[in-house]
């Protein structure tokens, strides 16, 4: 690729790439980590084989992209421009799909069917999962092959950067970002425009840093991964615009090591961006210089915290430090540093390209734009959903997610990952916004949304997240390290039937002290799972302590497996039981020996008559 040496060069390149010719139909296969894990690579192989062997290269295009978001239906195939969507395609059916694109037919039997209504949907945009979404960021993942920079440019990429450079007014960029009302998508929701303003006002001296926080440590959250894998250039463009606006001289992207595909795509994207001349010294002959380094994490959740992240980049232990001084004043190597989340960076080219006014039209007051959530758990359609701020939880869980995945009713939703809280169904009318979620005792966080039904034990949930945070605490603050250990100890007692009444008050008191006295965000939000479940599900705790029962049927020491009258005496469970705990004669009701039963659930899974009750 020849290096671009001026903005005119870029315009000429755009003219060459974006042809006005009508493009032939394109098969789009989503091959992010989720897609590849479900078998997208086989589909790609079959597609390539069919297109080459049947000499269809001129007639059909193949585009391999990152994640589109409908992860429950992976591996999926999308046909452009007809927008026909085929879910869960098998390699055998893939050949038929290629053929159907050639003839222009629709394969009715492979289309998406809503299991509740029985409706068959042809076009992706009609499917209820997609209908209520506003896919500002995710829609780009459908159009762009992440390892082809020309593809990105063809779809309007780098146009915002070039326009910014041509205008030549860094302060105007900051004003635009401020007007848009964009708030940090990493969880705290700090206004990005104000952060950039503060950085711009720092003395330049020996340089300024811009960091992309791609650590994404929350269990169950993978929104940033989809943007990193599917559209890495949007981050690079965002950071370039930010650097130009604030006077930053060096960029760093801190990616967690557990995202190898994201790292691979980012390395390729950086190389291509440097080749074309978007990164380096004297970019497009404007005097502006900027480059981005990749720093990999090493498996520590605490390194998502900004001061711990800075220490990690510097090569020290990932331990947070007291603020003030804030990273804006003293960051990496003591220089002014602004850290933003992946999704925040991805929104920057959109705001500069479409304008702050258009961006503000989506969302609600003080919460402009969209947010990507990872909708997972006991909901029918799991995946990544991009919704406008202000949409209610109910709409996300029922209209987009399709409601409960099993026979049981939905009980609560956990937002914000381990630092967040649980919101019960009674509050599902709550609109999604930084402030309204905080009011009900949770946080937006980075966008994890875990749906829980009546078979989820809330005490167990609190224990799970406390265990995670106890392991991930850096250990410096005594209250965080020992406090979380003790919280876990008490919750462990509750789930094993050793709970006592006084421990409930102790749990709550300890949780409040941990929240008050710790230094960093991890410790300050660590008691949230405990505090929010105590607030809304105190009865469940009481049942565990007073009656030594687990209403959801989860805590193994508190539940009993019993065979009920549905038993036909077929003997399948006797064979399945690894403990030989079931006995009974043929055609007679079997019996489980509770002393030997380990509640593994093998008998439940083999029984055809629903004869095993869990109480």
């Amino acid at each position: 690729m020849e290096k671009l040496t001026s903005t005119n060069n870029f315009n000429s390149l755009c003219d060459i790439i974006t042809t006005s010719q009508e493009k032939p139909p394109t098969i789009v296969i989503s091959a992010g980590t989720c897609g590849q894990a479900s078998g997208a690579n086989d589909l790609i192989r079959v597609a390539k084989r069919e297109i080459l062997s049947k000499k269809l290269s001129e007639k059909i295009c193949l585009r391999i992209t990152g994640c589109h978001g409908f992860c429950e239906m992976e591996p999926s195939v999308l046909i452009e421009p007809s927008r026909i969507f085929y879910p869960k395609v098998t390699p055998e059916d893939m050949a038929k799909v290629v053929e159907s694109v050639k003839t222009g037919d629709v394969l009715e039997e492979l289309l998406f069917v809503d299991s509740e209504t029985g409706t068959r949907y042809e076009k992706q945009d009609d499917i209820p999962f997609f209908k209520k979404q506003v896919r500002t960021i995710l829609a780009k993942n459908e159009k762009i092959d992440p390892i082809r920079i020309y593809n990105y440019i063809e779809n309007g990429g780098y146009r915002s950067l070039v326009d910014t450079l041509e205008q030549g007014e860094p302060s105007r960029v900051i004003t635009e970002i401020k007007d848009s009302g964009l708030r940090g998508r990493g969880g705290a929701g700090f206004p990005t425009g104000i952060k950039w303003d503060l950085l711009a006002n720092q003395k330049n001296g020996s340089g300024k840093y811009l960091v992309c926080n791609a650590d994404e440590g929350d269990p169950g959250a993978y929104m940033d991964r989809s943007v990193l894998e599917g559209n890495p250039h949007s981050i690079i463009e965002g950071m370039l615009i930010g650097a130009y606006a604030t006077g930053a001289t060096q960029g760093v992207i801190y990616v967690r090591k557990e995202y190898p595909l994201a790292i691979k795509h980012f390395i390729i994207a950086l190389r291509q961006a440097r080749e074309l001349g978007f990164l380096g010294t004297n970019i497009l002959d404007t005097g502006f210089s900027f480059d981005i380094d990749i720093v990999k994490g090493a498996g520590a959740f605490v390194c998502g915290e900004e001061t711990a992240l800075i220490h990690s980049i510097e090569g020290k232990m990932g331990e947070p430090r007291q603020r003030p001084p804030f990273p804006i004043q003293k960051g990496i190597q003591g220089k002014p540093t602004a850290i933003n989340n992946v999704e925040t960076w991805a929104n920057i080219p959109v705001i500069i390209g479409d304008g702050a006014k258009k961006f503000k039209k989506v969302g609600v007051r003080n919460n402009a734009g969209t947010k990507i959530f990872s909708l997972v758990g006991k909901v029918k359609y799991t995946g990544l959903v991009e919704v406008p701020m202000g949409i209610s939880i109910k709409e996300i869980v029922y209209d987009i997610g399709g409601g409960p995945s099993g026979k049981k009713n939905i009980k609560a939703v956990q937002t914000g990952g381990p630092s967040g809280g649980c919101i019960p169904t009674e509050l599902f009318d709550t609109p999604i916004s930084y402030d309204s979620l905080a009011k009900v005792g949770s946080i937006m966080g980075s966008g994890g949304m875990i749906v829980m039904d009546e078979s989820t034990c809330m005490v167990d949930v609190a224990k799970y997240f406390t265990n995670f945070l106890k392991d991930e605490s850096c250990g410096k603050c005594f209250t965080c390290r020992k406090g979380n250990q003790r919280l876990f100890e008490i919750l462990d007692d509750f789930t094993h039937g050793r709970g006592e009444k006084e421990q409930l008050d102790l749990l709550e008191g300890l949780a409040h002290v941990i929240k008050d006295t710790t230094m960093c965000g991890l410790g300050q939000t660590a008691p949230n799972p405990v505090l929010s479940t105590l607030r809304y599900f105190r009865d469940e705790y009481k049942t565990h302590i007073d009656k030594k029962q687990c209403p959801a049927g989860v805590c193994k020491d508190l539940i009993h497996y019993r065979i009920n009258d549905n038993c036909k005496g077929c003997g399948l469970c006797i064979k399945a039981c690894p403990q030989n705990a079931i006995s009974g004669k043929k055609k007679e009701k079997h019996v489980i020996d509770e002393d030997n039963c380990i509640k593994c659930g093998a008998c439940i899974s083999v029984c055809k008559f629903d004869a095993v009750s869990v109480t």
Binding site: P324, R481, E489, L510
Partner: protein, 227 residues
């Protein structure tokens, strides 16, 4: 000079002064465990927390690390602070009850019981030994390893250190080791005896013949009598 208000009293201090230094200058008592004059502040024990700010934005910060700010409102003994201190002392007693320093602090703040499972650890990870070794003895022989439950202090990869000069400074500053016992009546002794001497990394045999650096201790008196 920076002017701030502590417990309603105005005080002017030089830039760079911490809230702890300013409060102690005025005579307000603030308990500390991991703070020592001459070593850089670390903020690990959280005992020195004070309340700053007003209204719903009020929060607790460790006074040993927080720099004085113009116009700051500080309260060193509000109910939120006292509640926190008592819980922290309960946690300390639950982990390291044999330390007289911790016992004294607990007695002072009227914490007489702890409601957690009793543990007997000999390190509270306050980091005084690390900072002593690095900043005063310039040896840097020991440091923190790992995180969370597995956090510990020791030499790199637990290999015998060739920069450690056996000065004993780490033991001297350790609050878990401090047993300046002043009881002369053996029946009233509450300390754990010199069983508490467990320096983080140095091989113990070398210290067997060394004299206990503390003042004559009741445990030694008892031992002498029995001999």
């Amino acid at each position: 000079m920076i002017t701030l208000t502590i417990n309603g009293l105005q005080v002017s201090v030089e830039e760079g002064t911490t809230l702890l230094e300013a409060a102690r200058f005025l005579g307000f008592p603030i308990p500390t465990l991991c703070y020592m004059e001459g070593l850089s502040p670390y903020g690990a024990c959280r005992l020195c927390v004070v309340e700053i700010g007003d209204g719903p934005q009020a929060k607790l910060v460790s006074s040993c690390t927080y720099p004085a700010e113009e116009g700051l409102q500080v309260r060193t003994a509000s109910s939120r602070v006292i509640k926190a201190r008592k819980m922290i002392l309960e946690l300390l007693l639950a982990s390291c009850p044999q330390s007289k320093t911790i016992q004294d602090l607990a007695a002072k703040y009227e914490v007489r019981q702890q409601r957690f499972k009793q543990e007997y650890e000999d390190c509270i990870l306050c980091g005084l030994c690390v900072r002593m070794c690095e900043e005063q003895m310039m040896a840097k022989a020991i440091g923190f390893r790992s995180r969370g439950e597995n956090r510990s202090i020791g030499t790199p990869f637990d290999i015998k250190s060739d920069v450690c000069r056996l000065c004993g400074g780490c033991m001297y500053v350790c609050p878990a080791c401090q047993l300046r016992c002043t009881y002369t009546e053996p029946e009233k002794a509450i300390c754990g005896g010199c069983a508490n001497l467990s320096p983080p990394c140095v091989e113990k045999e070398q210290f067997d013949d060394m004299m206990c650096y503390m003042d004559p201790c009741v445990a030694c008196e008892i031992e002498k009598k029995e001999k």
